[in-house]
Point group: C2
Chain length 494, copies 2
């Protein structure tokens, strides 16, 4: 079996989309399952994408006035119970630390938990940090002058999920969690919406992934939130992926952790809260937005390698000539802020390299051979369409720079067209079931009750992804015929 | 009590150095103890220093060919036992996860650990990641072509320390851990030494903290290492702080996790390993290298805020005039890559602000008042010496830029002079005890046995910090009179 063949052995999307995804994550060297159930190893190439995401998001958080900080990994069990909905939402999937020491096994060669080292109170590995953070904020907030408090944390969290999938749902994942405190309800609501917009901007302009902004229904809200704002994206198989959420928490955590402040009029009130987060799950969303049967398609704004150059040569002398020309191109590309690698390894054939960089989703591939040398040209292949063209080396830097932007726009446009094509308005429940089965996003009227929502979920596996912001036309619930304030977005979801 | 007075209420260094440190960490808003024993909250100002450290170190790691990745937080208990010294070193301070679910307490209002959700095998929160990483490397390494494997991870780790101190020794801390695999012993040894040099360069040129490079004795080695290379710094109280270590691990983990590869000759061998790390402990080292009774003294290369500008005004009109001039200065400073803030808050007096920015260690303070307006001048205060001068606004940007570099050099020089003044060579054990008590680093001959090392430690609390590289003059052990290959470095340590 040749390497090139092995690289191509992706399950095709049509055959089994889920298996295609799983294959691709592993074969493109993004991540793999670890020895610990549900926990993944994020490999260098996957982590490089996460680093790019982090850098961009972190800059956006700082531009909007936030500062990073770090809070403990472990949370006293009792903290979780302070907010009733919150404990209900997270208690069932908590990793619990009960002991703080191992000792030699008197009956074997290994180590055992030392029963003498039992903690007085068990500690939970954070599934999210509202409780430990608001317990800390109690000491940081006394007056309206201490507000707003705009903090973000980059961290690992753990939720003991039973069914896990690389990036999409893992027991441990990496994320950022913003936790802000405000003097007024209005200010906290503005903050929650502002961060939803930051996420939407990131999704659309960096991930090239169009999103629908809206608010969650009560049943789909974050445990402890008054309102959960979400951005929802359509994957290539028509399923929805919740790509980021921003919560208006009201005074729930202020009350649970007794965080009060003296306002301008001298009155005492509980602080108002928001929290918001995105995670390594975004890498899964990225993959399922653009990639194909040849491998990853990465948006240029997030690709760790934007351009690869492959020499095609028959002799060492020819390679030297190519390398000399390529060197100048590399210098020019780097000067334009483009990340580029030159793969002149003599252990792999050009065809193998082409397949590898297609698999890895490098947006632009340049190749230079003997004829190019003669003609002062270079072959340019764009990963999104797999189209090739031969262009002159003069001005290649500007050509590539424009092409990268064109690819970024094109894959966004393609994803948007796909979503628009697969988004339908329906008015009857039968039509709903039919269109859902075809893999669509469905805009339908709903009577606003958790009961109807639950019934639809049980009967069709579709959930209300959000109540979109951009629609306010009333109608009648497709299931019960009762009045509906506006259409809501239904889909099956990751 | 005025705020300005409160800010000044640091314990003085002479009175109680340890309390001064503790006070300063809290009052300068770097970190505080959390509700979880031994775990700290790193506050935004402290975290901003860590972010600067991370960015610089990460660039250095990448320049030396390393890639970041991420491995699971949890390690199966049995992995720890695979390497005998390693388990011996870490088993006694492990946080152990035994359950994965909580449930409602049938007899109370809170939640309890669900006894039905007990893990088959307990999981340890990583105290360091050699075991989980080498278990992963087994699948990544087959041939010499897969080597070297140069990986780094930024992560949190946990060691259940009994006596903790903010930054210096905490149950949870943030760090980076490099884990590399190589085809030959020589290459791994070169890597371990290379990373020691990267750390030394960072310590001296960014932290302005002179370090002594050397190798640890057997008793002080990392659990599982063949050799531990270290950089040791002297704190202001004469105690040593181990600021970074780089380990040559031989084939210990290759063997423990059966990581073999086919070499160029077609023979199978175990992979050779290194690991190396620095942690948030460096922030403690930074504080105890330069700060004083007025607060932090931060090296300009790591200060989150390099310059603060304070207006001194009698009227809104005067403030407007000052702000107009300051705006131009800010633009100029920012264009030079200098981070600057303008504190024109009307809720605090200039004196309060001066004290606050001294406490926070901002390297340069500029102040502009009515007379400065008339004369086109500005007052410049440097934090390291507290010296003030009034200079003309023309060319202030270049002046400040040079001053920042001068401060960086000056605090390094001062720390180096301090260390040199307090480093002595002694030849008798009596002299050793006397000089140690005075707070010195001591270079003395030692017979090379763990017994003598242990005796000295028990009798004086001094440990061998390292066997320095730059000395090879033989002599006789100060305790036993037996032959000694070279002087080694003794000190009491953090």
């Amino acid at each position: 079996m040749t390497m090139a063949k092995e690289l191509k052995e992706l399950t095709s999307q049509d055959e089994n989309y889920s298996q295609w995804y799983q294959d691709l994550v592993v074969k493109a060297d993004l991540a793999e399952n670890s020895a610990v159930r549900g926990c993944m190893v994020i490999k260098p190439y996957g982590y490089a994408i996460w680093e790019k995401m982090q850098r961009i998001l972190d800059d956006k958080f700082k531009e909007t006035g936030h500062h990073n900080a770090y809070f403990p990994l472990l949370i006293p069990k009792s903290f979780l119970s302070r907010e009733a909905d919150h404990v209900e939402g997270f208690a069932k999937e908590c990793a619990v630390v009960t002991h703080y020491r191992l000792k030699n096994d008197p009956e074997g060669s290994g180590v055992i938990v030392d029963p003498a080292a039992r903690l007085e109170e068990e500690l939970i590995i954070r599934p999210t940090s509202e409780t430990i953070i608001w317990n800390t904020y109690k000491n940081w907030i006394q007056s309206y002058r201490d507000l707003p408090l705009l903090i973000n944390q980059w961290a690992n969290v753990m939720r003991w999920e039973m069914r896990t999938r690389l990036f999409l749902r893992t027991a441990e994942f990496l994320w950022q969690e913003g936790h802000t405190a405000h003097a007024t309800r209005e200010e906290a609501e503005v903050e929650a919406r502002k961060m939803q917009n930051v996420y939407a901007d990131f999704a659309e302009n960096y991930m090239a992934m169009p999103v629908i902004k809206g608010v969650k229904t009560e049943s789909e809200r974050f445990a402890g939130a008054v309102d959960t704002y979400t951005i929802e994206a359509m994957m290539q198989d028509g399923k929805a992926l919740q790509a980021g959420t921003s919560h208006f928490l009201g005074q729930n955590f202020g009350k649970a952790f007794d965080v009060t402040f003296i306002d301008k009029e001298g009155k005492t009130d509980y602080a108002w809260a928001t929290s918001w987060g995105v995670s390594t799950r975004l890498i899964g969303a990225l993959i399922m937005s653009h990639s194909d049967n040849n491998g990853l398609v990465l948006p240029p704004h997030l690709a760790p390698i934007q351009v690869v150059i492959v020499p095609i040569y028959r002799s060492a002398g020819q390679l030297a000539q190519i390398s000399e020309k390529v060197d100048k191109i590399i210098t020019g590309l780097k000067a334009s802020g483009i990340s580029v690698i030159y793969d002149d390894r003599d252990t792999k054939k050009p065809g193998w390299k082409f397949a590898e960089y297609e698999l890895k989703g490098v947006p632009v591939r340049l190749a230079m051979g003997g004829r190019d040398l003669e003609n002062n040209t270079i072959e340019v292949m764009r990963r999104d369409t797999l189209e090739k063209e031969t262009v002159t080396c003069e001005g290649i830097e500007a050509h590539v720079k424009n092409l990268l932007e064109e690819i970024q726009r094109n894959i966004f446009r393609k994803a948007l067209e796909h979503r628009e094509k697969h988004t339908v308005k329906v008015d009857t429940y039968d039509q709903f079931k039919e269109k859902l089965e075809e893999g669509n996003f469905i805009l339908a009227h709903w009577d606003g009750t958790p009961e109807t929502e639950e019934r639809i979920k049980n009967e069709t596996k579709a959930t209300i992804r959000c109540i979109p912001f951009d629609d306010a036309t009333p109608g009648q619930c497709m299931v019960t015929g009762k009045p509906s304030a506006q259409r809501v977005l239904f889909a099956r979801a990751y």
